[in-house]
Structure formats: C-alpha cells, structure tokens
C-alpha cells in the first residue's frame, strides 16, 4: 500500500475541472487500495507535501501551475515521483508556440501561424505587420493565447476588423498570442497512454458539434452541444495515420506517462494537422481520455493504476 497525494484544484482558471478530475482520480486510487490524500494546490502546497512525504503524487491540476511545469519542478525538488510528463515536456506543451515550432521542426504538420508578445505590439509596432500576416494565413483565422488550457480566449476572426478585438481577448490570458490558419474539418483527439515504456495510442475521439457552422470552442466542453464519437468513424488507414502522427508529436515534445494530442482532419479528408498536446488532459467522467481508454477496454481504475504504477516505478 502506498500513499498517493492527489494534487487538484489550484489557482488556475481551470480549477473547477481540475477539482472534478481530482475527485475521480481519488475515488479510483482508493478503490485500488492506496492511501489517498487530496491536496488543493495553494500557498501551503510545498509545506503539505513535505509533511505528507507521499510515495507519489498524482498531478490532476489543469492549466497554469499544473500543466506548465511549475508543480513538476517542485516535485522534482522534493524528490516525489509524479504522474505524467516531466518539467521540460510540460513547458514545451503548455506554450503552444514553442510546441508548434518543435512540431514544425520535426516536420509534423501543424497549421501555419505567427506569434507575438504584447510588447511586440506595444513597443515594436507589430500591428503594422498584421495585414501581411492576414494575407498569409487568410480568413477566417484563429486567435488564441499561447498558454491557456481550456477554450478560454480562443476567437475566430472572419475579417481584418475582427483581429484587434480578438487579440485583446487573447492577451487577457497570456502575454503571448498566436494567429493560426483555420483548418476547416473534423476535430480529433488522440489519447496516449504508455505501456511498457512505449506510447500506445487509444481509439480516436471525434468531437461532433450538434449545430452546423459554429465557431465556438466553448461549446465543445458543454454537455449537449457536442457529441463525442469514439472510436471516430474514419477509414482504417486514416485512423492509423492520425494515431501515428499523434505518437510522433508525443515523442517530439518529450511527453511521458500519458497525454492527449488534438488534431484537425481537413475537410478534404486527407490532410491531418496537429494543433497541440495536453500533458494533463481532463480526467472527469466526460473527458476524452477516459472515454478513449474505455473504448480500448481500459477501465478508469485500470487507467489510473497504470499511471500511478508508472510514477511509482520512477
């Protein structure tokens, strides 16, 4: 029997989702016979971990602190083994701009983009470059904060007039934003869980919006607005291609333990693009990774068991 600290909640904008993920994980760990201590990540996080001296930590923190490598760094310092990706991989995935550069460098297709910091606009006149960017990426384009886990702050710009307001919104979340070419098509998520040290792609989940023609990222997360199909209805060859692309992205970014890679399948039915990788994907009852695991015959408890065993073995 080992003592596991489930780190959840925290100060990020995704606190609510994280509390749900953490609660699910906690229940599973208890069923698996572990001694479980839930820790709401706050100012006393380090103090509590030093007191508890758990055998491992399950990081169920989404967003800032939990996904950007901060908590992982602290766990390294404290010598507590933890689930999921290490510090460097967290940093790479959390910063979508960095991740996309690495993907591009590895010749993994990702939608064209340009990224700027707020100071580039404030101090270097980057606004003057917007028309050129808009010509290059074409409308509609997607404007998003470089670092933000959920759909918050992601906007569509249908024309040049929309871009400044979309940038202002995105800068509400981060000092760096990216403008990305919009890929019309199907929204796919490939969850990956490591098995004997090798990343194994789980069945693909497709998010199918219930309403046609909506550019609404928030809706993806609302029960009733989006239907999730798992496994996604794709020709075998295409599904395999998407899965191996996701594994390639996972390796390129240096992830470990588990992750979820989001892709777009272009409406031409051929081109695949990797959008981003999430190092602490949602683990609530409606989240995509648990759904994918179930489709692969892995129960939620089985999933949690693997992840914690992996951490304990470190």
């Amino acid at each position: 029997m080992s003592t596991v600290a489930v780190l959840k909640g925290g100060r990020s904008l995704e606190r609510q989702v994280s509390l749900k993920s953490g609660a699910q994980v906690q229940d599973a760990l208890e069923r698996l016979g572990h001694r479980v201590v839930a820790v709401d990540a706050g100012p006393d996080l380090v103090e509590r971990l030093m007191e508890l001296r758990p055998d491992a930590a399950f990081v169920a923190l989404h967003g800032r602190d939990g996904e950007d490598g901060t908590v992982q760094e602290l766990l390294e310092v404290l010598g507590i083994p933890y689930t999921g990706s290490r510090v460097a991989a967290c940093i790479r995935c959390w910063d979508k701009v960095l991740a996309k550069h690495l993907l591009r460098g590895a010749e993994i297709p990702t939608p064209d983009f340009h990224a700027f910091s707020e100071t580039a606009f404030r101090e270097l006149g980057a606004a003057q470059a917007l028309p050129a960017i808009e010509r290059q990426l074409a409308f509609p384009l997607v404007v998003k904060p470089a670092a933000q886990g959920s759909a918050l702050g992601i906007k569509f710009a249908r024309g040049a007039g929309d871009v400044p307001a979309a940038l202002v919104s995105a800068f509400s979340y981060d000092r760096k934003v990216l403008l990305e070419r919009y890929v019309p098509g199907r929204d796919l998520a490939v969850s990956i869980v490591e098995e004997d040290g090798a990343p194994r792609p789980l069945p693909i989940v497709e998010a199918v919006p219930n309403e046609k023609d909506f550019y609404d990222f928030e809706a993806r997360y609302e029960i009733g607005r989006t239907r999730f199909v798992c496994p996604a209805e794709l020709p075998d060859a295409l599904a395999e291609q998407a899965s191996s692309l996701a594994v390639e992205a996972y390796r390129t970014l240096g992830c470990s333990g588990f992750a979820r890679v989001d892709l777009m399948l272009h409406e031409d039915g051929e081109q695949l693009f990797v959008l981003e990788a999430n190092t602490v994907p949602g683990l609530t009852e409606t989240s995509l990774l648990p759904q994918a695991a179930e489709a692969a015959g892995i129960t939620f408890d089985g999933l949690v068991e693997r992840l914690i065993a992996d951490a304990l073995a470190r």
């Binding site: 904008l13 307001a165 509400s172």
Partner: protein
C-alpha cells in the same frame, strides 16, 4: 481502503445516466464562464460580482434574542411543518412590507416562498410549457436565466433605457409574436432599481405596461426585491398597486431588507394563479421554513424593521457614491455606466472590442471580480458590459476593486489603440453618465467579430 465504495462513474456510466436525463437538462449548461465565476469567491478576491446585502450590519444580540424568543414561545411550532401558503402571522408581516410601498393585499392572496427565486420557479412551473414565450428585459436578472432555460422557455428580451423597459418596443414585439401565433405567457420585469441595469421604470411606462397587460390579458411578473432601498428621489408605485392584482404577479422578498439566509420571499397573485402556484410549491418543498417565518414574525412584532432598513439606506448610499466616484476616476472615457437611485447594482458598458468574459479572466489575476454582461442575456449580447455590486463590500474595497478593474480596462483600451493605430486613451475625467448617453449603455450594439460564436455559448 476507506471502507466506502464510491459509485463508479466512468464515461460509459455517464452515458448510461445520460439516457435517463430529462430533455430540459440539456439546456442547463455548464460553461467556461461559470467556471470562471466559481473562482470569484476566493478569499483574496474583491468580489463586486455578488448580489449580497451586508448582513454584518444586523446586530448579533438582536438575532440571539429573537431566536431565544422563538425557542421560548414556539419551539415545537418552529421545528414543525407549516402550511404551504405560510403562517398567517408571516403574511401579516408581508402585508406590512407591501403597505410600506403603497400596496394593499389580502392575506389569502399571498404565498410565502423559499426566497424570491422560488417565485420565479413557481411562475414558470405554473405557466410555461416547453417553447412558450417569456418576455424579459435586456439585460435581465442573471439568476432568472437558468430558471427560464430549465423550463425550456423561449425568452424574448426587450431593451431598457434610463426609463426602464422600452414599452414601445414591447408593444412591437407583442404584435410580432401575435402575428406569429405565439402568445407570451408572462412579462418578467424588475421595474425598480433593475438587476442588473440599475435603472427604474418611469411612471408613464408603468401605467402603460399595466394597460398593455389588461388589454392583452397578459400576466406580468413584477420582481421587486429592492423597492425599499431607495437612496434618493421619490418612490414610484409598484405595478401591483397600479394593476390592482388583476394581471400582475408580485414577487417580494425579505432577502434585501433583512436577510437572504432566512430564505423567505413571497408571491402576491390573482387567486387562480396563486392556487396553481400553491400546488407547485407543495410538490417542490411542502412549505417554507417554519423556523425562519417565526424569526421574521417575532422580529416584526418588535417593530424595528423600518429602522434597520433606514440604516441600510445610509450605508448603501455611501457605497454607491464611492463606486460612482471610483468609476469616474478609474474607468476610461469610452466607458459608460448607470447611476442607480437605489438597489444594489451598477451596469457598466465598455467599448465593444472588450469582451468582459475575457476581461474577467484578466481581472481575476488582479484579484477582483464582476459579473460579465453576457450572463444577463440569452442571446449572446452583453459581451462588453458588466454588473458591479456595491452593497456587499465596504467603501475601501469598492474603490480598490474599481481601481483594479479600471487598470485592466485601461490596459486593454491602450492595447486596442496600439493595434488599430488609434491614439492611446488618457484616464477619464470625472463624468457621470449623461441621460442621453444611457440609452447606449443599455442598448448594446451587436458585437463584432467573434460575437456569433460566443453568442451560442451562453
């Protein structure tokens, strides 16, 4: 390990439950904005987001003596069920409060409810079939939105200006609905110190609204939680007083004049409507708390309730003034806001390129919160507005909270200027909103750009 076996709730299980959920749960949405709002109650956050009265002003000694009296005189009754319509003694207190606002009511036309919120729920339960039309104000009380949604109502919102609901627009809308063969079941309004708009419906509009209700035989739900919280100007008659109880359902509450914790409100309505609401209440909770009804009646017997409300007026007036001063000092000149004569809220509207849901995310980093305007609309409007509460925190916090919001707004205005080549904005000169500008505050233009997508989100 712990000995308990929590129910499994995996993805597949959720699907199993999902098949059991009623259709109306599909419109009870969770959203990123709601997740953001959940962050506003952290201790370090100055929250101008709530709608809380300041209950710290109620003397603990009074509370203790009231409870002791209840215990001594009616312990068994306090611990027992009561009649669905409420105790007659509670109804007499309600009649006294309504009389203070110029209304007379028969006690058998009253239903004691569990907060005013239950009145909204019971009215919907009594009148609304899925797809039925409710006419509401734009913006409307954010707390009514989930209620309307859960009854699958089709809500049509009518613009407000400085004189309250635009009754001309209401008539046009009613005509249009009639042509479409859709008869609205009721018109929902907060005519006095509107939540969230802060404006008050003028007397001519009140009279016209009541006339419209009579002519078209439509019910009006008058939500009046703040009527007694007037800090300046002359009181206006409630719609219920003008109507004489024929077509107006009146919603009152002890929440803002005494305590929201006692969860007591009431409805005054035409008897046939009230009877149905009574049945609905039986089904919902049998009766409201006997204990708190006895608390209220004991409190009213002591006779000090008006003095307590008076003390709140002085407190909230100063807080409102502190907020208005802070807004003038810290908000940019592109912003506009209402100047309420009472109630708890100010409604501020920023330039249309600022999305207040995103702004809230930024503001939370400065440990300050407000309600994004989109919460007050069902059609995605309100994206650049915010509701600010001035009753729940002290003047120092109000000033500091508004300063912090002003800072992030100024930051965004400046950034937008940089992005569009417009000149950066200097801090606003002290300036109350001119009456003619108020129409723009409340009648929001459609948002540019991402509006459509976001519109569907809330």
């Amino acid at each position: 390990m712990t000995g308990r076996e929590p129910p499994r709730s995996t993805a597949r299980d959720l699907e199993r439950y999902a098949g059991l959920f009623a259709a109306r749960t599909k419109v009870m949405k969770s959203s990123a904005m709601r997740d953001l709002m959940a962050l506003t109650d952290r201790a370090e956050v100055i929250s101008l987001a709530g709608g809380l009265p300041d209950t710290s002003t109620f003397p603990p000694a009074t509370y203790a003596s009231l409870m002791a009296t209840v215990a001594e005189e009616s312990c068994a009754k306090a611990l027992q069920y009561g009649p669905t319509e409420g105790f007659a003694a509670a109804a007499r207190c309600i009649a006294e409060v309504m009389a203070a606002e110029g209304m007379s009511v028969d006690e058998d036309e009253l239903l004691v409810t569990t907060g005013g919120q239950q009145v909204i729920d019971l009215v919907c339960k009594t009148l609304i079939d899925p797809g039925d039309v409710i006419v509401a104000e734009a913006p409307t009380y954010p707390g009514a939105v989930p209620t309307f949604c859960s009854y699958e109502a089709d809500v049509v919102q009518i613009a407000l200006d400085e004189d309250g609901m635009r009754v001309d627009e209401l008539e046009e809308t009613l005509d249009r609905l009639e042509r479409e063969g859709r008869r609205p079941k009721f018109i929902y309004t907060v005519p006095t110190f509107q939540n969230p708009g802060g404006v008050t419906m003028s007397l001519p509009r009140r009279q016209r609204l009541v006339r419209i209700a009579h002519e078209r035989e439509l019910l009006v739900l008058e939500d009046n939680p703040y009527g007694l919280l007037r800090y300046e100007g002359d009181a206006l008659p409630p719609l219920y007083a003008l109507d004489g109880g024929a077509f107006v359902i009146y919603l009152g509450t002890f929440s803002k004049i005494l305590s929201p914790g006692i969860r007591l409100g009431w409805a005054a309505a035409p008897r046939p409507v009230l009877q149905k609401m009574n049945l609905g209440k039986q089904a919902a909770d049998l009766c409201s708390s006997s204990m708190t009804q006895l608390f209220v009646t004991t409190y009213f017997e002591q006779g000090g309730w008006r003095a307590y409300v008076e003390s709140l007026l002085d407190l909230y007036r100063s807080r409102r003034d502190a907020m208005l001063d802070a807004l003038a000092e810290h908000f940019p000149r592109e912003a506009a806001w209402t100047r309420p004569q009472g109630g708890l809220f100010i409604w501020a509207t920023l330039p249309d390129y600022i999305d207040t849901t995103d702004l809230l995310a930024r503001a939370l980093r400065e440990n300050v919160a407000f309600v994004p305007g989109r919460a007050a609309y069902l059609d995605g409007r309100g994206g650049s507005s915010m509701r600010l509460n001035f009753s729940g925190v002290d003047e120092h916090q109000i000033r500091e909270g508004v300063r912090r919001i002003g800072k992030v707004v100024a930051e965004q205005v400046g950034l937008y200027g940089t992005l569009t080549g417009a000149e950066p904005t200097a801090p606003a000169p002290a300036r109350p909103t001119a009456a003619e500008g108020l129409a723009d505050v409340l009648q929001l233009p459609p948002r540019r750009g991402s509006r459509r997508g976001r519109a569907e989100a809330e």
